[in-house]
Symmetry: C2
Subunit: 270 residues, 2 copies
């Protein structure tokens, strides 16, 4: 039997306070016994940017920035993995990204494919392929927040072999958590949504985040869910045999039942 202990952190970062936010996230993470800890989207910076200058001043290099350095240090000391959202700068472009960090440093970066609302003003849409990485015995994919709305994204990760989809978020729609249950169910994967909480008031915009971070199992059941406002970490033990069992009944395999020859419209450019 192959298990992984996985946790989410739900907290409330303060806009622009990168070091304090990393302190806050890592302090919450230390309360969770887990081999993989997932923190929310744009954890280091906060969410509501109000100018391009702000993005430029807060975005980080994915290998040498403060988020990479601090998480790599914690991962090495704690001998475990972290996934966290951060604002990335690379070759003069900015991305809403997440990094996977292990004891030996940054292992993978995902750049959000589906940008929401004003994110398009601040960030370029992701330009890296959806991918799955090993964390101990588990195969882990990353999505960020609004990617939940596009069933294609979770499906691609599941077809690439993901046991678990880590989902750093700054959710604002009330139905995202319920939809993530269907993402788990339709793909028979675990999902770990690490959402932030609180209200961010900034020049030009005020955004209220929905909390309710959750871990969902391959049957679509919520294993653990945080409250709307609490700042907390929760860990659960997940059995990877369950995400690898892709049969619904003895006679009904999920993935080989797909009919890709009828799905061509999905990859046509609009």
């Amino acid at each position: 039997m192959t298990f992984l202990r996985v946790a989410f952190v739900q907290g409330r970062p303060r806009f622009g306070r990168t070091e304090a936010n990393l302190d806050h996230g890592l302090a919450l993470a230390r309360t969770a016994q887990a081999e993989l800890v997932v923190l929310p989207e744009l954890w280091s910076t906060g969410y509501v940017f109000s100018s391009h200058e702000e993005v430029a001043s807060l975005a980080e290099d994915a290998r040498r920035g403060a988020t990479a350095t601090r998480l790599a240090d914690a991962a090495r000391r704690e001998r475990r993995h972290y996934i966290a959202g951060f604002a990335e700068v690379a070759r003069g472009r900015f991305y809403n990204s997440a990094m996977l960090v292990g004891p030996r440093g940054v292992r993978a970066v995902y750049r959000k494919l589906h940008l929401f609302e004003r994110e398009r003003e601040w960030f370029s849409a992701g330009d890296l392929p959806l991918a799955v990485n090993r964390v101990g015995p588990a195969r882990v994919g990353m999505l960020i927040c609004f990617d939940w709305r596009f069933p294609e994204a979770a499906r691609v990760l599941a077809l690439l072999g993901a046991d678990l989809i880590a989902h750093p978020s700054n959710l604002v729609f009330p139905n995202a958590q319920e939809a993530m249950r269907v993402r788990a169910l339709e793909n028979r994967v675990f999902t770990v949504t690490a959402n932030r909480t609180g209200i961010e008031r900034r020049p030009g915009d005020t955004v209220t985040f929905t909390g309710r971070s959750q871990i969902v199992d391959p049957d679509g059941r919520v294993v653990v869910r945080a409250g709307k406002a609490e700042q907390v970490a929760h860990a659960v033990h997940i059995d990877l045999a369950r995400s690898r069992h892709k049969r619904l009944t003895a006679a009904t395999p999920l993935f080989t039942n797909r009919r890709p020859e009828h799905y061509g419209v999905l990859v046509r450019r609009s």
Copy 2:
């Protein structure tokens, strides 16, 4: 403004009693004022086949069989459209199909793409492309029952322009209705799930159906839902402007936000 009045019929067919089942369905349908009435999967025959001979004796030609004849007659007299599930025979093959019938007769046939459990013993998997047909001002796609589990199917119909997905069903999984809310939400379409109710006891198998037929709007809200056991028809007025409004916010279009160049895995044959 462009509206359509659409209804589902939820009832309990008796296995093998094609004429009585059509009587039963059409009687319920007459209680609903609607331009399009959706009946459950395999309405004419019942669901639990126990031999190939039984399938062969009950399957119908999609244009000349009892279901086509009776529904075309009702559609002509009532000046409206029907969608209903039936067992189809065509060129020596059998399909779990649905037909769209209007005042001038059968207009389209959909053959279930994703077969569940023992259906594979009795039927060939669908071999016709997913398609959308006009019913009055509305663009209507068809899925059948277990197709709900495959997000690709509803997505293809939505990308082909469906306002509404008619979903004749014989559902047995308890979470299908909630998942259909996500199908509606993620595609911003209306869904009409016409499910059967009752228990079918037949040689070798007993199946309990979940009722709770429903119509869901493009925000994922259940507009009307039947009980688990009742035999009933419900009609609602739907506003097609809503299914054509594919923006979540002014800055966030749903479909043009898709990233088909990253979805290639979805159409690879496994």
